[in-house]
């Protein structure tokens, strides 16, 4: 088994008034390279919280996330986010004063990617995802949701991160565009040997992933 990314007894709860609400309880799982994962579950079950913990956006109450044999908290969330993972959100989260390729170059700069011509590489990745140079230079706010989501994916690819975490990436997209995005994820995992973990409530999307996981009573189980 080629486990690069593991969850160890991961737990998370919050206080609602005087009441303790447990979201995740002792989650344990190993993610393998070159595979796509879908995490499904009803609204409020803790899918996004799990993604945040895996992405180092916040610390768990118990347990830890391990990347490449190291606790990400000890490694430093900032370093972990910079070099090891890429996050893709439902609302794309692109910087609006930058155009498509500038957003990608910015992410490459942050990740200290050694590339003689970052702009060229950004345009090449965008081209692979169907975003042409004209669109890549246009004001980001004038692009469609599908195009913006593909730019977000291109940004994740450009970072060379081994783990890609996506939160409802097709939530705002029509079926055809959604399918294109799914195909992009599958290619990333199978061809580039990356781990793609997608949180979704779309059963159709989940079925196309290699592994489907479900949060049930705070625990992460394979479906």
């Amino acid at each position: 088994m080629d486990a690069l990314f593991q969850l160890h007894h991961l737990s998370y709860h919050y206080q609602d008034g005087g009441l303790r609400v447990d979201i995740l309880k002792d989650c344990e799982y190993s993610f393998e390279k070159g595979k796509t994962y879908a995490i499904i579950g009803p609204s409020g079950c803790g899918k996004t919280t799990l993604l945040s913990l895996m992405g180092g956006l916040e610390a768990p109450c118990d347990g830890y996330v391990e990347y490449d044999g190291e606790n990400i908290e000890k490694k430093g969330f900032n370093n972990y986010q910079r070099y090891d993972i890429a996050l893709i959100f439902q609302s794309y989260n692109l910087i609006n004063y930058m155009n498509a390729y500038q957003n990608i170059v910015c992410a490459m700069d942050i990740a200290h990617i050694k590339e003689p011509n970052k702009k060229e590489r950004a345009l090449k990745i965008l081209g692979r995802l169907g975003i042409h140079e004209q669109e890549a230079k246009r004001d980001i706010r004038k692009l469609s949701g599908g195009q913006q989501q593909r730019i977000a994916i291109a940004r994740a690819i450009a970072k060379n991160a081994q783990v890609i975490l996506a939160d409802e990436p097709t939530g705002n997209l029509d079926y055809a565009t959604g399918q294109t995005i799914i195909q992009n994820f599958i290619e990333l995992a199978h061809q580039d040997k990356r781990i793609v973990i997608v949180v979704t409530h779309d059963q159709g999307f989940a079925r196309q992933m290699d592994v489907c996981l479900k949060i049930e009573d705070g625990k992460l189980v394979e479906v």
Binding site: L57, Q81, L87, S91, I95, Y97, C106, K159
Partner: protein, 467 residues
């Protein structure tokens, strides 16, 4: 970081213009304040310089008057200065030369004084006669002449300022010490047919009423170019009847070789007057009896309005720095709220919080630098406008035009410095100070919003957006 900062400035035009406007206004005001402060400081220095770098050690008449008993006559006091005290000060730092003066009222049977009641004033100048030689409060005698003894005549301001000019012969110098050589006025010489080489005797009496007589030898004749008639001036007080001698001659006539009337210390620079006074106060000289004066009264009156403007400018600059910093910080904090999402994205990409603050710093720094460049063109204009406003405000206050007596021989009265004459210009010093202030404002303005950035949690920001 730089690339992102430039992109942000270019794309967020509205915010950039707002920030530029605020920065431009603040820098202009700071620049104006600093220009006025520098100009007033320069004018004060120039005023100080025009009054010379001489400091006079004299008897403290103010203290004497307050210490005397009711009805006590001033001639009962020995208002002389010990030479040993004067010598102590002559060794202090900044002193380049020293001139000791001794004035003594004398009479003579050999020559007639220039009678003041028949002498008319021809000069129209604003000179004020207050001869140092006439300061001596000796017995109120009826003598017609004053012998003014000094170490050297070279530094006497009346001669330096060309109010008195040498007509024939020479002035006295250090080489005339212990000689009975004198220099007299041309009027006194012509009235008595005296020439260079002539001799005559002068006399006075000591405390025991013993006559002290000295025969003096005329070595120089001077002409009084400018002098004003002052009502009630006696023959003895007249510059025409002043006989310049060596210090030793005057001391002999005064009956004491260990005392003098006053000492004038010439300093290397007028800017060292305060420092000189400070170190002089630490010597063993009795400052309850003596005083040091550098035309302080004239100086203070001359710089009155300048001093107020200088204080106002300093306060103004301080207020603008603090106020400007706060306004900039508020503008940036408002801008920051609209950029929370952007910072959340950058944090999720692994950008460090310090680099995000750094980007802010660069953005604001670039805008302020541009505002600074623009202000270089307008700052001088604004400074001039504000200084004119202040000047016209100060000119509404009645100006002091009284004539002020000075310690110096016929020293020219300094008119009150006109604030309209201020040289409000953009000097290197001002540019340097404004640069420093601009950096300070940028740092203040960035500090508060930065605290908010440093406390940010990317999840909270991004999840909020996710809805």
């Amino acid at each position: 970081m730089w690339k992102n900062a430039v992109l942000s400035i270019r794309k967020n035009v509205g915010r950039t213009i707002l920030l530029l406007g605020v920065a431009f206004l603040i820098i202009n005001l700071v620049m104006a304040g600093l220009e006025i402060r520098t100009a007033t400081k320069k004018s004060m220095d120039a005023t100080r310089q025009s009054l010379g770098s001489d400091v006079t050690l004299a008897y403290n008449m103010k203290a004497l008057m307050s210490n005397r008993s009711k009805g006590e006559a001033l001639d009962q006091f020995n208002i002389s200065i010990k030479v040993s005290d004067a010598n102590e000060l002559s060794k202090l730092k900044y002193v380049t030369s020293v001139n000791y003066l001794q004035s003594v009222s004398v009479d003579t049977d050999d020559i007639e004084p220039v009678n003041m009641s028949s002498t008319t004033t021809t000069s129209q100048s604003e000179q004020l006669e207050n001869n140092q030689d006439n300061k001596k409060l000796g017995p109120m005698d009826n003598n017609n002449f004053t012998v003014s003894g000094q170490s050297t005549m070279k530094t006497l301001s009346a001669f330096v300022n060309k109010q008195y000019v040498l007509k024939s012969g020479r002035l006295l110098s250090e080489s005339d010490a212990h000689t009975n050589n004198v220099v007299i006025s041309s009027e006194l010489a012509s009235d008595n047919n005296l020439k260079v080489g002539s001799t005559f005797s002068v006399y006075t009496s000591d405390s025991s009423n013993n006559k002290i007589m000295i025969t003096v030898n005329v070595v120089g004749i001077y002409r009084v170019k400018t002098v004003n008639q002052i009502g009630g001036m006696s023959n003895r007080q007249s510059p025409y009847n002043t006989i310049y001698s060596s210090l030793e001659t005057a001391q002999k006539l005064n009956g004491s070789t260990t005392t003098i009337s006053s000492a004038i210390y010439t300093l290397d620079d007028s800017s060292h007057i305060s420092a000189f006074k400070k170190i002089a106060k630490k010597t063993s000289v009795d400052w309850n009896t003596y005083t040091l004066d550098a035309n302080d009264q004239v100086y203070q009156m001359s710089i009155g309005s300048l001093k107020n403007m200088n204080k106002f400018a300093s306060l103004f600059v301080m207020i603008v720095i603090v106020g400007g910093g706060i306004v900039m910080a508020l503008v940036l904090m408002l801008a920051l709220r609209s950029r929370y999402h952007e910072y959340g994205i950058l944090l999720s990409l692994g950008e460090s919080k310090l680099r995000i603050v750094g980007q802010q710093l660069i953005e604001v720094g670039l805008v302020v630098a541009f505002a600074f460049m623009l202000s270089l063109g307008s700052g001088q204009f604004v400074g001039k406008k504000i200084s004119n406003m202040l000047a016209s405000a100060s000119s509404n206050t009645p100006a002091v035009t009284m004539k002020i007596p000075t310690n110096k021989n016929n020293n020219e009265q300094q008119p009150q410095q006109k604030t309209k004459d201020l040289d409000v210009s953009l000097s290197g010093e001002v540019i340097g100070e404004v640069t420093g202030v601009s950096v300070l404002i940028v740092v203040i303005a960035i500090l508060l919003p930065s605290l908010a950035i440093l406390r940010m949690s990317p999840r909270k920001i991004l999840m909020k957006k996710e809805g």
